[in-house]
């Protein structure tokens, strides 16, 4: 025994006595509200409009503004392009599957890659990147070269560029969406989307129901 018998008891009692006089961290909630920092936004949530479609336009401004890069986007937006979800990875099922796969040691399929049409090879993107020294400051030139090669900007290529240059995907998307001559879909896909936009069965049904409710004759 390296110390006096009973010394441990004395030490322990000193600790408890110190704790006795320490201020307590408990907040008596209904009487006292916790102080919340003004920038706190609570839990991330995507909002739906009254037709049940996501309001998110995938502008990526939130992902750009997020100081700790906790917003991660994927999925489909209002135009059927992206599958949109965000927030903590645990909060949506897709991510749960991913993390389960990751824990089991298998390769994780990336829906952002698999959902979209994969270009045959990303070697062309790599060549373009090497040509531009993988410099994020020369992003516009890289994006233009990529579009010249593929005809549009595939998501997989953007991700590859993001990975190689170190620029956030959100920032690359922001850059690309700023310039009107850059596009994200092949021209035929744009036509298809326009065709869908011309004919929206659920919206027509809603308008008809609205007219019926307002007792208005159908419009031309």
């Amino acid at each position: 025994m390296s110390q006096l018998p009973g010394l441990g008891i004395v030490k322990g009692m000193a600790v408890t006595l110190r704790h006795f006089f320490e201020p307590k961290a408990t907040i008596r909630y209904p009487e006292v509200a916790a102080t919340i920092t003004p920038k706190f936004r609570g839990r991330l949530q995507l909002l739906y409009d009254e037709w049940g479609t996501l309001k998110c336009e995938t502008c990526f401004q939130c992902a750009q503004a997020c100081p700790i890069e906790c917003i991660d986007m994927g999925g489909t937006d209002t135009k059927g392009r992206y599958h949109v979800h965000w927030g903590a990875p645990e909060t949506y099922g897709e991510r749960r599957d991913e993390s389960a796969l990751r824990r089991s040691g298998r390769t994780v399929p990336d829906p952002a890659y698999t959902h979209f049409e994969m270009p045959d090879d990303l070697a062309a993107v790599d060549a373009i990147l090497d040509e531009h020294d993988r410099d994020p400051a020369r992003m516009l030139a890289i994006l233009e070269a990529t579009q010249a090669r593929y005809g549009y900007l595939p998501v997989a290529a953007l991700k590859r560029i993001s990975h190689a240059t170190g620029a956030w995907y959100a920032m690359i998307y922001g850059t690309a969406s700023y310039y009107r001559h850059l596009r994200f879909e092949a021209p035929e896909a744009v036509e298809q989307a326009a065709a869908i936009a011309d004919h929206r069965p659920s919206e027509e049904a809603f308008v008809a129901a609205l007219d019926a409710a307002l007792r208005r004759p159908g419009r031309a």
Binding site: I9, M13, T16, L17, H19, F20, E22, T26
Partner: protein
Amino acid sequence: MTAAVGRAWTRLTIAGKVVFIAVPLLLALLVPLGIALVLWGGAIVDFLAANLPLVRFLVAATAILLMTVPTAFLIIYMEMKVIALMNLRVGPDRVGPFGSALSVVHGLKVLMKEDFTPTGADPLVFTWAPVVVYLASVMTLLVIPFGPGLFGQGDINLALLYFFAIGGLSVVGLLMAGWSSFNKYSLLGGLRAAAQVVSYEIPLTLSVVGLILLAGTMSLNRIVLMQSGSFLDWNVFRQPLGVLIFLIAGTAEANRTPFDLTEADSEIVAGYATEYSGMRFGFFFFAEYVNVFIVSALAVTLFFGGWTAPIGWPWPIVGSLDPGSLGIGLLLLIAIVPVVATLLLAAPFFVARSSMPAWQALVLGFLLFNLLAVVAVLGWAFISFDWIAGLIWFLGKTYVFVFTFVWLRGTLPRVRIDQLMGFAWKWLLPASLLNLFATAAAIVVVGK
């Protein structure tokens, strides 16, 4: 008619119901009592005077029995609050100021629970076991001197012996509870509790024998008087080892952490109290908390000067205030002082804080006045009456020890049963014998 009465009854609030029951009941009790006093008053007084020792005993026993209830409530509250604060929690803070009424609520809750007797239990023994445990605790309080001339039962010259004899009775209660429950786990718990309490009884008693040799008496009152003077006369400086053994063994006697194996709630459901519920269960735990008070009180009495002040007041107070001498002035004082003092105390708040309405300032002033009045009355009593000063010193010292017991519980983990027994027989018993021999040798060598 009955329906109307029933309806009226259901519409009463709880307080109203209490008043409606209590007032007629009190009248029914007091009026015959008053009539009896008027008719046979002289005879009753004569009868009581003839049996003064008996009357004295009954009054003292009742007073002490009643005293244990708030004591237990206070210690239960202390335990909840102090351990919570030591665990960096807030603890009870909902019922009463700072949650102080929570232990009362606990008591009421226990009273309202079903009082269940298991099939196959011995109902008589089962019912009496908590009573024996509780009374064994309460009866020991009869000989503790709370202040000069403030005993439960006279100045018994065998008080210490009585204390240990009656205190040892609680083992009987524990065994009764364990045996009569008709449950092998209860029986094991009871035997375990008995083994612990009996083992620790020996060092506990032996640790005091040295003190008895020194004092030459077993009267607790004379032991206290022996220590009067300054705190340097306390027995703690004559029997340091004895104090240590006494406190450790007393902790085990009172079934407190780290020796609370008898009802180690995280290990053996509740030991001997497994089959108990309701108030019978409550009595075991009341007894435990009363035991904490008793062990603290005995430690204070034996080793820490009892009700004597640790230092004599250096400036004697000249002239004592006799309120009776004021005559009619006293009545005026009682009538005027509260009003004036309330207004005076409210004025600063009203002046300093313009946002405070007048009635709030008045309420604050009234509360402050009450506080001051209580302090003043206590101070006056402390100065004027020896026994109140003694009682305050005694209770103050006792609650320091109660706090220490709670503090120990907030700090230490529970020991194992083999460690518990080994500690009692291998360490405490030899140490107490050593203490006894050393004391005896010192008395022989130095002389009385």
